[in-house]
């Protein structure tokens, strides 16, 4: 058969490699800064764009989409053409993919710290950036699918199945979760509200973990581990079973992020069942990865690449054992809202994603630069720093999470909360927060060693811009006689469609009843839309990222009802675009902050002083001060548009209310400000803090005023 000659382009892989390293260190440094802010809350005193609530989304977005995202593209653009024996379909699309992605990252860095956010975790970016993400992602998808169509191999190797599933699912997740109506160029409201928004968000959030942090990396594992060990994957048949079960099961598991919340029980039950089943395909992947090294363990001792792969895959196994465990309602009752979650995700991010990425980079460097790695010793040192750093990061946080949760739940013999003061439970775990900083520092120093190796290896070697290869041409008719799975494997477009169907089933079964059946969200007649001032205040709450530390979801436990007040109901959040249930309680829950008698209820003057100087009100507080809320004037020019968008979303403001909304706003602001002035606080009606106080005093007030629940159904 005639051999055709073609070349592989290493330039695009190198560009993504450099971007991975650059954004990796940025993401981690931001993480270090916010970890420091938790132990030194006044570290960036008064600098709004460096406050914890603004930077935490930057850290998570940078770690996920910038560091891991670039690593995914690096690995795919290197492995895809080699597995298919063909060049990447279009170099132009590769370039658009690269520069578009970097532009998106830069726009995230320029918006998130300045408070431009949707207020949904890991989906904080505002609508113009969301559109850009969709476009660049589709460009990547075209390149991926077209390269697969133009291949010279008959079979499509399993790694590419994972790449295709990644492309399809992330596209669906991103588009469905990001649908919103713009208010202005950098402000929008999601179309979903309350528990429905929560369901969509955690379907997205959980599957971002699944299809952005897991499936592409499993694909990369199936290429780079065999390469580095110079052995084929342990069981190819296992990889087929584990691929299809993994993508099918993962999509159902999102509701385990909302256990004991106001989400209907049947959705929670689905989430638990599928999360528990997920351990099987997850461990199928781990076992396949580790057993690929059978007979090569002697190499693991010397080769930093294999060492990193082993620790990475083991971390994957640990995290995917822990995931189903955390999805059990009894465990979740303890773990949820605590640092246990933070520890769990960092085993995944630092261990699985981090280690695999570093391993791939150390493996690629000598090949891209046609030389030896500049220093294997340094790479080994990196391995140890990363491993110990990860442990120093996670173990203290496991300890902190469990300790704090048990303190929240502890009662005295007389039946009172043993630690009614939230602050006591925070002080108890602060030493663990210091240890976390130390762990992070170790991990980052490892990355510094990586950067040195990247630069030095590039200096001593010569870059191989293109590599030549040859293979016989592929005849599509050769698959026409195949049956079953082999037929699907031979047809990338059909394969993509089947993958799309498989990942859609879980979402549809959960969404359709949630959106269609009214009994799933019982309405409460006492719950009315926010006043214009409260709405503006809520937008400041979103802008400052308060949800990063404060939940708004009282779970139906005696310890929580005692501490905060009546447990949260689905009907309370029907006008919440977006929902603000939160996922972490670094500070107390605020769902009942507006209910007199709740332990978290405080007078207006307290809030004013607390925003200005939290440590003056609670000396041990780790909340940062918000002096800019006191200084800045509220922008009320946006009120009419915001009311109109809310009306379009179905919030029942009266017709024409947008025209008079600001009158009501000024009236309410004057009332609050006058109250503060009566207590001797010098403040204008127009300041942002007034709107913020109005919003906080509204939380939970509706059903409290009504006295008891009245369901209209």
């Amino acid at each position: 058969m005639e051999l055709q000659k073609f070349t592989y382009d290493n330039r695009i892989a190198r560009m993504f490699l450099n971007a991975t390293v650059l954004w990796g260190i940025v993401a981690m440094l931001v993480g270090l800064l916010i970890a420091l802010e938790l132990v030194f809350p006044r570290l960036t005193h008064g600098v709004s764009f460096l406050s914890f609530g603004r930077l935490r989304p930057l850290h998570t977005n940078a770690a996920i989409f910038a560091f891991v995202g670039n690593a995914i593209f690096m690995g795919i653009y290197y492995s895809l053409p080699r597995l298919l024996k063909t060049p990447i379909y279009s170099q132009a699309l590769s370039s658009i993919n690269f520069w578009g992605w970097q532009l998106i990252i830069v726009s995230a860095a320029l918006t998130l710290p300045f408070g431009y956010t949707v207020g949904k975790e890991y989906a904080e970016l505002e609508w113009p950036i969301d559109i850009a993400i969709a476009i660049v992602w589709v460009v990547f998808g075209i390149n991926l699918i077209m390269t697969t169509i133009k291949r010279r191999t008959k079979h499509i190797y399993v790694a590419i199945w994972f790449y295709i599933a990644t492309f399809v699912t992330v596209a669906v997740l991103h588009i469905v979760n990001s649908i919103s109506i713009p208010v202005s160029f950098l402000k929008s409201y999601p179309v979903y509200a309350g528990v429905q928004d929560a369901l969509v968000q955690w379907w997205y959030g959980h599957n971002a973990v699944a299809f952005f942090l897991t499936t592409p990396f499993l694909g990369l594992m199936y290429y780079f581990v065999p390469k580095a060990a110079n052995r084929p994957v342990y069981s190819y048949k296992l990889s087929i079973i584990h691929f299809w079960s993994l993508i099918f099961l993962y999509i159902w598991a999102g509701p385990h992020h909302l256990l004991y919340s106001a989400l209907p029980d049947w959705v929670q039950a689905l989430g638990v069942v599928f999360s528990v089943m997920l351990i099987a395909p997850s461990w199928g992947g781990m076992i396949n990865g580790l057993l690929t090294l059978r007979g090569a363990w002697d190499k693991v001792r010397q080769d930093p690449v294999l060492k990193m792969f082993v620790v990475g895959i083991t971390a994957y196994g640990m995290a995917t054992f822990e995931g189903p465990l955390l999805s059990l309602k009894s465990v979740n009752a303890i773990s949820h809202f605590t640092d246990w979650t933070i520890a769990h995700v960092h085993i995944g991010a630092l261990g699985w994603n981090g280690m695999l990425t570093f391993g791939m980079i150390y493996w690629l460097l000598p090949r891209l630069y046609k030389t030896k790695l500049w220093s294997v010793k340094l790479a080994n040192a990196h391995f140890w720093l990363a491993t110990t750093g990860m442990l120093f990061f996670a173990i203290p946080l496991y300890f902190a999470g469990i300790t704090q949760s048990l303190m929240w739940k502890e009662f005295t013999e007389e039946g009172f909360l043993k630690y009614p003061n939230f602050m006591e439970t925070v002080v108890q775990i602060l030493p663990m927060y210091f240890l976390r900083v130390f762990g992070g520092l170790l991990y980052i120093s490892g990355v510094v060693l990586l950067i040195i190796n990247v630069i030095k290896t590039a200096q001593i070697g010569t870059f191989v811009a293109t590599e030549e290869d040859e293979a016989p041409a592929f005849k599509p008719e050769s698959i026409s006689g195949d049956r079953g799975h082999r037929r699907i494997e031979g047809k990338p477009v059909l394969f993509t469609i089947i993958a799309l169907v498989v990942i859609s089933i879980g979402g549809i079964v959960q969404f359709v009843p949630m959106f269609m059946v009214e009994s799933n969200v019982p309405t409460i007649s006492a719950v009315t839309p926010y006043t214009p001032l409260e709405l503006q205040g809520r937008d400041i709450y979103l802008r400052e990222g308060c949800y990063n530390c404060h939940s708004q979801m009282v779970r139906p436990f005696r310890s929580e009802v005692e501490r905060y007040g009546d447990y949260s109901k689905a009907g309370e959040a029907v006008y919440d675009h977006p929902f603000q249930f939160g996922s972490k309680r670094t500070g107390p829950d605020l769902a009942r902050a507006g209910v007199p008698g709740s332990l978290v209820h405080k007078p207006n003057s307290w809030h004013y002083n607390h925003f200005l100087d939290p440590q003056k009100m609670i000396p041990q507080s780790i909340m940062p001060p918000y002096p800019w809320l006191i200084k800045r004037d509220l922008d009320i020019s946006s009120t009419p548009k915001k009311i109109r968008v809310m009306q379009a979303l179905g919030v029942p403001y009266p017709d024409g209310y947008d025209q008079i909304a600001n009158d009501d706003l000024m009236k309410q602001a004057n009332q609050i400000a006058q109250g503060l002035r009566n207590e001797g606080i010098e403040v204008d009606d127009t300041k942002e803090v007034i709107a913020m106080i109005a919003y906080i005093q509204r939380l939970g007030a509706d059903i409290h005023r009504a006295g008891s629940l009245t369901s209209t159904k």
Binding site: P232, F248, E518, S519
Partner: protein
């Protein structure tokens, strides 16, 4: 939309959704197992060698950092 909502609201026993979900998965999984068991082992072995199947691998590996 309104119509669909009314129809779905009338559906009795939404509680069986988890069971339906499980049955769908179970059927899917059994089908998959049958597929894979019937798969030709020689083919599977060939496929698993695809990443290693590079003519210039030899020349690259001793430039690499491995011993």
């Amino acid at each position: 939309m309104r119509l669909a909502r009314n129809v779905l609201e009338g559906v009795v026993g939404l509680e069986i959704f988890p069971i339906i979900g499980f049955i769908i998965f179970f059927a899917f999984f059994i089908g998959l197992i049958i597929w894979v068991v019937r798969m030709n082992s020689k083919d599977a072995d060939d496929y698993s060698h695809m990443p290693l199947d590079m003519d210039n691998e030899e020349s690259l590996s001793h430039n690499g950092n491995k011993s």
